[in-house]
Symmetry: C2
């Protein structure tokens, strides 16, 4: 019972000593990664960098207790940070105390939404977001995030805009005001990050560039030459905070809260599942929602901002040997120590290095390969990705994901409304009935037509099936028997049954017979409900094609 | 070529003398039915009765030439008339010349929409309207139509409202002002209609009550005692009319025009198909849209209002022996003769008898049996009907059908997102592998699990399948082999392939094997695109279960 409430208790109560080594080293490595990332992502979200550190403390502990993944590294991530910025910047000036208060409210809303979805066991609704949609959306968001950092990299003022072209145009106009020291620090940091990622991927590159750039600024007094720095970072632990709220603010923030709740969960859960499968335990969508939801509620209560499980940080955590949630607890403790004793070290850290860290991180999220792969395997799935990508880039984050979801569902409905049907003939070499369109040597008999239907039958496709059946009979006056092979009919609805029933009755009046064979259990149940086993007795019970044909020969 | 343009030419050029008898008698009977119906439905639509007669002339001829059904009886129908009233009454006073001009514009829009859908070959989009939705919608609309006639039956003034309860309440308040002569004529007419329908269904009951009530009014001078009569009906043919239009009017009328275009077509096409199947010819959705579209354009040009193929009139037409479109041409000619010479006969006809005709006609459209039937066969389809019914009755005609369509599609997606999967075991008595949940004697083997998946695999259900596969392996440490029987997998998308691929790779690393068997053609093609026939060579080519198991025993 207690374990159900606190999944974390499971590993706590059975903790194995030999797991400690991995947990310790993973916890340390993730902390080293998280300190610069947390500050960078907070900046991306339009918040003071220290809020990113606050969000990396209590929420991690809460998740370790309530979440079901043992290796997930929870905390600030790029995508959610961007969503926070785009969702709140229209309501208050980024960085202002009103802005921060709205972000706290947003974190609370995200937490409550995730918690409710989890408690109501509604986690499955996220299944309706196709990976093609996520991929197209992520690539587009990565581009938007990357360009949002341009101003920090160039040391100029740019409008807060999601429109990439507007940003580029504006940057072009201000070419002469670019601060070359800032640009130098930014570009060298990017170079170091890229090279280290390629040649020494095990070393903590973000820490290296942070140290490098801070030292350079300090040594050459670059902050007096126009290089923008982090400056004073308050030390001490996050204070208790209660977001002020109004009905108006809640209703305005609702769309972005829902988007963050769902996107944040989907990104996190995908990673949690991959690791769980490898480690032979199971994560559960609803428990994950509860865990992340409570983490977000705690983020809102302790001056943080919305968090979720990060993709790359979790991979690093798992790779560094994390076995249990203790790794995350160690990370949180190290961040707390940093907040208590080391914030003064960040004084000279330039904003440009955080921008560089963000840009390199999100560049890795642009996944052209996935688009190519989907186009190769199934064109329409590639289009889903492309449309989501284009919509996100041109119409904005929330509209993009909405259009992607709707489009992918329409594609599915579309495909199932055009069911695959095959006319079968006898292939002597194989002693089997096969699709005449694929097997040239499949032989058909004059008075008989065999149709295999490869689709569930329901209102939107029954008319096509009906039409195909009529065609089979209209092909020649001689045809007086039609066999429908139902092995691929996994489901049937009442409307489809009515249509078929009318068709069978009409042809019966015309002295033409329709037989069904290989009807599956669930379909059989529904046909029974419709009384077919009385109405069409002797016509629909055949086990398979061979049995109908044997029967037809016998009468 | 010409025949493609004018499907009607087909029967005209090959007209058989022996068809003439049937066509003549059907044409006459439908005309006798159509004269009172046309006037009644025009009144329902808020139009002068003569417009109903105008709509029963040229449009019938146009459809006979361009439509593909030979027995469809085109003209005014109750449902479309109600839609006209609800769509236009907010813009102008029913019966006013401004109202009539807007209705002409509406007819033109309906015609253009249908014509465009037909020419662009988009007829299939109507497949997405489930019969359950149509049925629920029709029953609710019938109730709304019936109550809209209450004022004519009682001889009182009631507001133009779709809200049944409001109408009843208002009528209750005016109980004392009910005209008893009007009520008497209405009730006796209803009685006669009901009794004749039951005992002498072959006789034209509407004609009988029209004659009866007109004679009664004339003999007893009831029009001087408060019984409202048709009065002067202009004689002569419809004049050419050009609807005046404005962008504003077009945009306001667009939703109702789309609704009429689609609902009108669906009702008409359903009937056309039933008859065509019985008569062994084929009707085509797109040609039907062109035929009805042109009929509506002509209705707009000759002072008519939106028309479509009527359900009951077509049944009467077919039942009376109509063989070709000549029957409809004869009907049109008879209506023209009526317009030229007999309109003065309608002077004393009471509105109450038209109300009675409408009420009895639409009462037959309320289909409780269909709701019961759907609930019995498949509950969820019954719910679709009920929800559409309730939404139409409470939220209005257009909202009702929209909610119904969306709900029915969600149901379909929902069902396919919860795919049926069966764990198979060997049933010795049948020498076959069967669902262990249905067959108690199905035997499973310790280290092996067999899973049959009865669903196309796509992004929305792949996570459930994944989860089930993980469960199979987690059930016992001993299980090292899983066979997925793909006979029911009719389709697969790229996202599902990616998920499966990752799963297969992960288990391969854990020294557990997944085999596929009975993979169908279209799925095979997609797996080939994804490179599976190289990656998973030797694991996915098996023809059926027996082949995998024989292979497993051999290694």
């Amino acid at each position: 019972m207690l374990k159900k409430l606190f999944p974390g208790l499971e590993w706590m109560l059975t903790y194995q000593k030999h797991d400690l080594r991995g947990d310790l080293s993973a916890g340390l490595i993730v902390a080293i990664m998280l300190i610069p990332q947390g500050m960078a992502y907070a900046m991306l979200a339009g918040l003071p960098p220290v809020i990113g550190l606050y969000a990396s403390t209590i929420p991690l502990l809460v998740y370790a207790l309530f979440g079901s993944s043992r290796q997930l590294a929870v905390g600030p991530v790029a995508m959610v940070s961007l969503l926070v910025l785009t969702g709140v910047q229209g309501l208050a000036e980024p960085g202002s105390s009103e802005y921060i208060s709205l972000v706290l409210l947003l974190a609370l809303m995200v937490g409550v939404i995730q918690l409710s979805l989890g408690l109501l066991r509604l986690g499955f609704i996220t299944d309706f977001i196709s990976h093609a949609v996520i991929s197209g959306f992520t690539s587009a968001a990565a581009i938007v995030i990357g360009f949002s950092q341009l101003k920090h990299l160039l040391g100029i003022q740019l409008p807060s805009s999601e429109n990439v072209f507007e940003l580029l145009f504006e940057a072009g106009r201000q070419l002469s005001s670019i601060n070359s020291y800032t640009l130098f620090i930014g570009l060298t940091s990017i170079l170091i990050l890229v090279l280290m990622k390629k040649y020494v991927p095990k070393l903590p590159a973000p820490l290296v560039v942070v140290v490098y750039s801070t030292v350079v600024v300090y040594l050459f007094d670059l902050h007096e030459k126009g290089v923008s720095i982090i400056g004073e970072v308050p030390d001490g632990l996050p204070s208790l905070s209660l977001p002020s709220w109004s009905f108006e603010a809640v209703s305005v923030l609702m769309p972005v809260a829902i988007t963050i709740a769902i996107i944040g969960f989907v990104e996190s859960f995908a990673m949690a599942k991959v690791i769980a499968t490898k480690e032979k335990y199971k994560v559960d969508a609803n428990r994950e929602l509860v865990g992340l939801g409570l983490a977000n509620v705690s983020a809102s209560t302790f001056s943080g901002y919305p968090v979720t499980g990060g993709f790359s940080r979790s991979a690093v955590n798992y790779g560094a040997g994390a076995k249990t949630g203790l790794a995350a607890i160690i990370t949180a403790i190290l961040i707390v120590l940093t907040l208590l004793f080391f914030t003064s070290w960040f004084y000279y850290m330039p904003n440009a290095v955080l921008a560089a860290i963000i840009m390199v991180a999100v560049y890795g999220l642009i996944d052209v390969g996935e688009a190519k792969h989907l186009f190769k395997v199934k064109k329409i799935d590639g289009f889903t990705l492309l449309i989501t990508f284009a919509a996100t880039l041109t119409l904005g984050i929330e509209m993009g994901i909405f259009i992607g979801i709707v489009f992918s569902l329409i594609v599915f409905i579309w495909r199932s409304a055009n069911p695959h049907m095959a006319e079968l003939g006898y292939v002597e070499e194989m002693d089997a009935y096969r699709n005449t369109a694929r097997f040239n040597n499949a032989k058909t008999v004059d008075h008989l037509s065999i149709l295999r239907i490869d689709s569930p039958l329901y209102f939107a496709n029954i008319q096509r099936v009906e039409s195909r059946i009529q065609q089979s009979f209209l092909k020649s006056e001689e045809i007086d028997t039609l066999i429908l092979d139902f092995q691929g009919v996994n489901d049937i609805d009442a409307v489809a049954i009515d249509h078929l029933e009318e068709l069978m009755n009409t042809y019966q009046e015309l002295n033409k017979n329709i037989y069904l064979c290989d009807v599956k259990g669930p379909v059989r149940d529904t046909l029974k409900q419709a009384g077919w086993y009385e109405t069409f007795k002797g016509k629909i019970e055949f086990k398979d094609l061979e049995h109908v044909i044997a029967y037809l020969k016998s009468v």
